[in-house]
Symmetry: C2
Subunit: 356 residues, 2 copies
């Protein structure tokens, strides 16, 4: 599926003058342009990238087939001028990525223009990964795993959460990653009950579990993994909960195949965790699509209406969080294949592999 070609065809068929792309990631997906502060106008004939001085030279190098327009005063007013010259009267907009301010600027600058809200048109294409994208995702995963492997051996009592996160960041970059794909979560002991805990200066004690949620960005594609590790032995109650989460993840992974409802995959893990008595301790969805963004389609939770299809890539990350005690989350990335799924990540996660 060629996203740009199909969009142009739709514009022609529905007699729409253009499509204003304001989501920077969608602009990157369509054009490969990587500067910020830019807006793309797709029309049935030509495409225009509006950007500021800082990115003009870069844009002309990156995307010579698109007309690069330097902004004057503001991007919105520059676009208004172009819309008038092109006599565009009906314009698709990305309603999730156009602000109320931008909306009014365009309306006020083009009397009679009709802005038609759309939602997730480009994002729909992004759910299905091409071979080229898969290659980048695999590299992003292997960089993250190698970096973790390197840091794992260094984790010891007396280190702060932040120090571990910083080591990991360095190793990710050192192994060819652009950077970590999000702020690395490193939460020891009780702090692991915060699903999105920041790494703090808190010093790790010998007997605590350390939850690490990290990923690498490689050529703008991202990985996202979670593991728990121990400096010392694992306590019996932690073992019990860890095994429940691991089994729940296995059940979810086993249920993945084309045609399966995403909410059924979520349900496979969730119902098991509920059956084991932790119904209220798994408050987030099972996973999320991942690619140019760490969180993108498909949505994998109990309310999802998505049907899994080949070449979708998403995370599977059940968790049990108990305030005052701590938390367990295990997160891997999977690719939907014709007959089931391939687990793309390989970092060790069996109980005997994660002990100190």
């Amino acid at each position: 599926m060629d996203c740009l070609k199909e969009i142009k065809q739709t514009l022609t068929e529905e007699n729409i003058g253009g499509f204003l792309i304001t989501n920077a990631v969608n602009i990157h997906y369509i054009t490969n342009f990587t500067g910020s502060e830019s807006i793309l106008l797709i029309t049935p004939d030509r495409d225009y990238l509006f950007t500021d001085f800082r990115y003009i030279e870069q844009a002309q190098q990156d995307i010579p087939w698109i007309k690069v327009v330097e902004k004057k005063v503001s991007l919105e007013r520059t676009i208004c001028g172009k819309l008038k010259r092109l006599k565009i009267k009906k314009l698709y907009i990305e309603s999730l990525h156009l602000t109320v301010y931008q909306y009014h600027e365009i309306i006020d600058g083009n009397s009679g223009i009709h802005l038609i809200p759309t939602k997730g048109i480009v994002e729909k294409y992004r759910k299905y990964k091409t071979d080229q994208e898969l290659e980048k995702l695999r590299t992003a995963i292997s960089i993250a795993e190698n970096a973790y492997e390197g840091v794992r051996k260094k984790i010891q009592a007396g280190f702060s959460e932040k120090r571990i996160a910083d080591f990991l960041e360095y190793e990710i970059r050192n192994r060819g990653g652009q950077r970590s794909s999000f702020e690395i979560i490193c939460a020891a002991g009780k702090r692991a009950s915060l699903p999105h805990a920041r790494a703090t200066e808190r010093i790790i004690e010998g007997k605590e579990a350390v939850l690490v949620d990290w990923g690498a960005s490689f050529q703008f594609y991202n990985s996202d993994l979670t593991r728990v590790c121990f400096i010392d032995k694992i306590s019996p109650d932690y073992k019990k909960i860890y095994q429940i989460v691991l089994d729940a993840q296995d059940l979810a992974i086993d249920s993945i195949k084309p045609g399966r409802k995403a909410r059924e995959v979520d349900g496979a893990a969730r119902s098991y965790i509920e059956k084991k008595g932790f119904a209220k301790c798994f408050g987030h969805g099972l996973g999320h699509g991942i690619g140019l963004e760490v969180h993108e389609g498909p949505i994998i939770n109990s309310r999802s209406k998505e049907i899994l299809e080949e070449n979708m890539v998403f995370t599977v990350e059940p968790g049990i969080y108990i305030p005052g005690w701590g938390g367990v989350r295990i997160e891997d990335m999977v690719l939907v294949t014709p007959s089931g799924c391939e687990v793309l990540s390989r970092a060790p996660k069996k109980l005997e592999e994660i002990a100190g």
Copy 2:
């Protein structure tokens, strides 16, 4: 000036039911809450933070004086429910930070509600730094400078731009920074003509100038500096252009004081660069305010309508960019004082100090 108190007063005086804060940085500024995916509703009586499961425990810890509401289905629908119960009929919105989608969700969910667009209300307060904020900014600068000092000595021919950026990132974190405050720019030789060049795998040669634009984030406050360094001697033409930029920066800094128009400060540097024959080579504004965001108010460019006032902090960063040749930019951070300004950054920048 207490931002929250004054906003509540305005709401009462103007008979507005509430103010919906959708800019995450503004939420942080007002509440100190640091999770993402949240929306703040200020009303004359109580304030409500809508967030998802992942941040509930954190929010309750961080901001016990605000009512934390867990989202159901979507943040927007959860807010709609609250707006109804509070019988809010007129609501201020942040037009720069509310999407067209959110706008429609709120309108559709609350028949008869009137959304009143506002622009930059909280941002206006953020322009003036308190002593506490200044302390954090000074630390963010000193972390960045120490990190650069450490890396500067290591820069040698044969290193890639990215390797230098990665070292710098590590040193920033190692010295107490949360992270670099933006993707570090490291551009050698001709690549320095791209004002926002990414650090690439390109290997630095002995005779090239290396432009580094970096900053550190400390307790969410940011620094932003630019220096050029040399591994070897500086060529005569580079010296000439460098000195012009440095003199232009001096002229701008000397012109700063309360009551001065921001565009006059821009003009002090710009007219000097123009006089020296490089009118078309300085295509961006002279600087920008900086604090919780790397780019915030006041705007310092030739079209700015801002008047400088005490306790504003901004960058002064003139540049000369020549495609095919390279570029020079020198960037420091200044604080407007009662009688002029204090240059907050101290990294060496005289010609004799930057040579290899």
